[in-house]
Amino acid sequence: MAIVLEIFFVSLSRSDLPGHSGGRDRDLTSASAQHFISKVKNVMLSARFCWRNASRSCQVYRKSHSISQQLNAIVHNGRPDPGKSADASGFLSGKTVAVKDNIVTKDLPTTAASKILTDYIPPFDATVVKLLQQHGAIISAKTNLDEFGMGSHSQHSHAGAVLSPFSKNGVPLSPGGSSGGSAVSVATGQCWAALGTDTGGSVRLPAAYTGIVGFKPSYGLLSRWGVIQYANSLDTVGILARSVADTKHLYGCINAYDQQDPTSLSATVRERLGRKGADAKRLRIGVPLEYNIDELSPVVRATYLRTLNALQNAGHTLQPVSLPTTQPALSAYYVLAPAEASSNLAKYDGIRYGYRTPGSDASAKNNLPLYASTRGEGFGEEVQRRILLGAYTLSSEAIDNYFIQAQKVRRLVQRDFDSVFAQQHPLLERQAEIPSDEGGVDVLLTPTAPTLPPTIKEVKQQSPVESYMNDVFTVPASLAGLPAISVPVRIIGREGDGLEETDVHDVGMQLIGQFGDDELVLQAAEVVVQ
């Protein structure tokens, strides 16, 4: 564990704090940044762009039920009861929505893909589930995920790994995670849309890997009452759908204040959010220099540059921006999320519900601490790894070096974003050094992931740290609680050289907006898709 952290954690020095950043740290990246800027400019100047209608390929994969079972996207099928879901006038009337299995449902078992919640049937519905039903939606299924949402490829599930409908050399690709089951259900047409949860990219990444739309709204907009906590300061309910329009439609139905969720934004705060009459006709689009990393694969880079170019041609402005804490953000995330996980998962002791080890669990004979057997048997490997990591970073000897430092990085990440957006953060006090309107941008455009999805074989060969790297583009928006959406952009022409027919043919592009600017992010997403 110590090794993981050493490799991983970029420790902070005074020079990283505002007012001290300047020379040294920026110089390190300036060469690559210059290179990146020139490339962006080249593309901007390059010839006209051929817009191919990026029709969704999902229809192709709308296969039989048995195939979706092979993909293992679903852990429990819903019991569609036409008599019950009667409200034909509802906004979602008759529409099937799959729900990630870490969102509790009264009528269906909820396991979070963990052995520790074997056969658990909650006595209440999550608020988002209630809202779906109130609007006439049918909960069609509970979908598979990485246990408790901990993973980027939906491979760590007690119900078995989720497989993408796409493949390379006959090996299935990673569906992305942790909301892989929801993404595959949507991509294969098993449902109209699905709910996922996004803690560090768990909705956006699987959306990008399966060629669909994945939206993580601002933290505090969608109720978390009934959402099984992983890292509760980051957990956000998200939406997976085949189009931005469907996403918007579903979002409008579940975006409401909930007094049962103490982090739900109140009606008065909601009124202050966003801007009145947000307009995506002339967007100022920020292009973060730090996202041009070496690991960015050629096909993703090419699609990204083409997208930027097209946007500029459509009349939008591009603006290079700097988010210097992008790399430390990933390290901070993998300190904070496990720390919160170790706390949130302390309740699973086998006493009140779920799995319990046969025999005694508090035996002095075995010289084991209380609940060691139940928790050792009930949690999967990755969950145990993160609980241990979190327990360590919160321990009295380590908290100052890890948890406290990571909190500081988190604040820097938020400041980074605030310094590039034209829109003021609605929850922060007005500051003097806020850039003028001309200086700021409306949204940021980045790739959702550095590469196309790896095969599940490649995933297996990755070390935990390598698989954590996958989240480098999605984690910063999570740390800052910002709205972010991944939309599929079709790979065209020579960009897709070497891609098999069965491979995925979309690259996920991520749009990030200022806190509360969710409407604009959705509008911008429509622009990018067009």
């Binding site: 969102i103 509790v104 909820t110 979070a112 919640l117 658990y120 909650p122 006595p123 209440f124 999550a126 978390r224 009452w225 009934g226 959402v227 099984i228 906590q229 509760n232 300061s233 007094q259 049962q260 969720d261 103490p262 982090t263 720390a339 919160e340 170790s342 706390s343 998962l345 302390a346 309740k347 699973y348 002791d349 086998g350 006493i351 009140r352 519900y353 319990r356 005694s360 669990d361 508090a362 035996s363 002095a364 601490p369 209380l370 609940y371 327990a391 919160l394 321990s395 009295s396 908290i399 948890f403």
Partner: protein
């Protein structure tokens, strides 16, 4: 079967309630979680007796222990002497943490109703449990703002600075009384800081501690709000039943500075904090009923040295401390500190070193026992609770509460002493009994009585009259009425006599219309009668007689004897007891005069002999 709050029992935990013969004894309230728990066979029935037994047992044990102490009085004396000489060399320092259950209608983070106080039916186990209290996945805490009010009253009463912004931390440890695996507390950002508590001799502070001063002041480091744990009951050797009714109940933890230097003062501090908390209605149940628990931190240092150089919250130069957890009576606090002090001194005098460790104390024990050492300490991994926004308390709320605060016990007692003329000791006894009901009864009786018998000639005479009637009423409420209740083994709730009735009795007594003996007889009669029916109608006279009626019925009205009749009665008795007369006249045993007075009251017709007059007559006859 006993209830346990200790977290240390190394037992085999078997799943609660898998016992096949288990059935719920009471029907559950219509609470979704209770139903759900029940459907999973996760409920326990907890008959009330379980909760009562420990207290009775406790009192019995106490009595036994006291008897034993008296028996080996000689031994006690000798050990006292040796320990006294050791105490000249070693100085004790104590800091206390007191956990008290707040008087609220609901839990701290859920709207589940708070535990019903003793006397009421506590309801069945696991019937007052919200989803969050059972730590169901996907549930979140919802701070109940109403719980803040009693907490703030406590903070104001203990003269703390209420913090505008405080926060919630999670304190992690695994135990079956802790469903979430952590307790939500305010350890790092408490809502109240830097208070103080002033105690005097009347609070039980020994003279050595006062050191000539009228009072001492103990610093309060902080007060924090936190969740209580579930109740667990040991069933057989390897089964525990868990009752979540108490889980999540709001507690305050009051942490004193290590300003205490004797076991007696430590007990006095706990007693006084309890009295203050009750006085301002912050808490309902006292220590004896499990509403209050204390942990004490004990260290010793050689006088004039700075110990091992340890320090706590700005108090430095202390010896290494140990913590004794879960003390649930004042006596336990005092005895545990005595035992731990003596143990530490013995270790140090033998050249040993005190380990920083957690120790336990059981009632009646002579030594504390080691629970766990530093290496066994739990790393609580405190972290902020991200679900809960910071607690912001407006100064206007604090101001409002300050102006509407009930009188503090000290002020009430001072009032009783100065205004009503009671002794401080009586004032304290009166105030500490029956949740203030008895003081209220006293004040009403006293004001009624003064209104009827007062002459109100001048301010000075009114004051004198008020203190005189106050003393009279105080005596009757405390001793006469108290004695009658004790005889009948009844509680104050069932006192039956009204302030009006007692006033009527005392008016007659004051006006010399009845003798004290007759007054007592009437009071005893009223205590035994059924209370007047409550209702909008005046109670009919035949259900409960008035004081006047009782006086008439018993022919108790004082018919004063003439001087001659007094002498006749006195002589009659003196003639019958020449030995006694001799004792007074020749041996000068003046006390025997009162024996004659008693005989006169007894032999005279009911309601005719006034003791004061009888005494004068006897004395005159003896001299003559």
């Amino acid at each position: 079967m006993h209830s346990s709050t200790l977290r240390t029992a190394p037992i085999h935990l078997t799943r609660t309630l898998q016992h096949p013969s288990f059935t719920t004894a009471r029907s559950l309230r219509p609470c979704i979680v209770a139903k759900w728990l029940q459907s999973r066979r996760l409920t326990t029935a907890s008959p009330r007796t379980q909760e009562v037994i420990p207290l009775r047992k406790h009192l019995k044990d106490e009595a036994k222990r006291k008897k034993a102490e008296v028996k080996r009085d000689g031994n006690v004396l000798s050990t006292k002497q040796t320990s006294d000489s050791r105490l000249d060399k070693w100085e004790l320092t104590v800091g206390i943490e007191i956990h008290a259950e707040l008087n609220t209608a609901c839990k701290l983070f859920s709207s589940a109703p708070a535990e019903v106080s003793v006397g009421d039916d506590g309801g069945s186990a696991n019937s007052r449990v919200a989803a969050f209290d059972a730590a169901l996945p996907g549930t979140q805490p919802q701070f109940q703002i109403a719980t803040l009010l009693p907490a703030l009253r406590a903070a104001i009463a203990l003269e703390c600075e209420v913090q505008r912004k405080s926060g919630w931390d999670r304190k992690h440890y695994f135990h079956w009384d802790q469903p979430n695996g952590y307790q939500i507390t305010q350890y790092y950002r408490p809502f109240a800081k830097d208070g103080s508590l002033t105690l005097g001799a009347f609070d039980g502070v020994p003279a050595e501690d006062l050191n000539g001063a009228e009072s001492i002041t103990i610093g309060i480091k902080q007060i924090q709000m936190e969740q209580d744990t579930a109740k667990t009951m040991n069933v057989g050797s390897s089964t525990y039943h868990v009752d979540l009714n108490r889980a999540g109940m709001p507690l305050i933890e009051v942490i004193t500075l290590p300003h205490i230097h004797s076991p007696q003062t430590a007990a006095a501090v706990v007693r006084k904090i309890q009295a203050v908390l009750k006085g301002v209605d912050a808490c309902v149940t006292g220590m004896e009923l499990g509403g209050l628990r204390a942990d004490v931190n004990v260290s010793v240092r050689q006088r004039g040295t700075s110990g091992t150089g340890s320090s706590y919250s700005g108090v430095s130069g202390l010896g290494q401390r140990t913590e004794i957890k879960n003390l649930s009576s004042f006596k336990a606090v005092e005895d545990a500190i005595v035992a731990e002090r003596d143990r530490q001194i013995s270790v140090l005098e033998a050249g040993g070193v005190i380990e920083g460790e957690t120790r336990g104390w059981t009632l009646g024990a002579t030594e504390t026992t080691r629970l766990r050492g530093k290496e066994g300490e739990v790393d609580y991994r405190y972290m902020p609770d991200a679900d809960l926004p910071p607690l912001v308390i407006g100064s206007d709320l604090v101001k409002h509460l300050k102006t509407t605060m009930p009188m503090l016990p000290d002020a009430v007692e001072q009032d009783l002493e100065e205004w009503h003329g009671l002794s401080r000791k009586d004032a304290k006894t009166l105030n500490e009994q029956d949740n203030g009901d008895r003081v209220e009864f006293f004040e009403r009786t006293a004001s009624f009585l003064l209104a009827e018998v007062g002459t109100f000639k001048s301010e000075v005479s009114t004051g004198k009259e008020r203190r005189k009637t106050g003393k009279l009423v105080g005596n009757w409420v405390l001793h006469e009425l108290g004695g009658l209740l004790a005889t009948h083994q009844r509680s104050w709730d069932d006192v039956r006599v009204t302030a009006d009735e007692l006033k009527d009795i005392l008016v007659c007594l004051h006006k010399n219309q009845i003798t004290a003996r007759a007054a007592k007889q009437i009071l005893a009669e009223l205590v035994q009668r059924q209370p007047a029916p409550k209702g909008p109608y005046w109670p009919s006279m035949d259900t409960r007689p008035s004081v006047e009626q009782l006086i008439d019925a018993g022919n108790l009205r004082l018919r004063p004897l003439s001087e001659h009749e007094y002498e006749k009665l006195a002589k009659q008795i003196m003639d019958a007891s020449p030995e006694m007369v001799k004792a007074v006249r020749e041996k000068g045993q003046k006390g025997k005069v009162m024996w004659f007075v008693g005989q006169m009251v007894r032999q005279g017709e009911e309601g005719t002999v006034e003791p004061e007059k009888a005494k004068v007559v006897i004395e005159r006859l003896m001299d003559g």
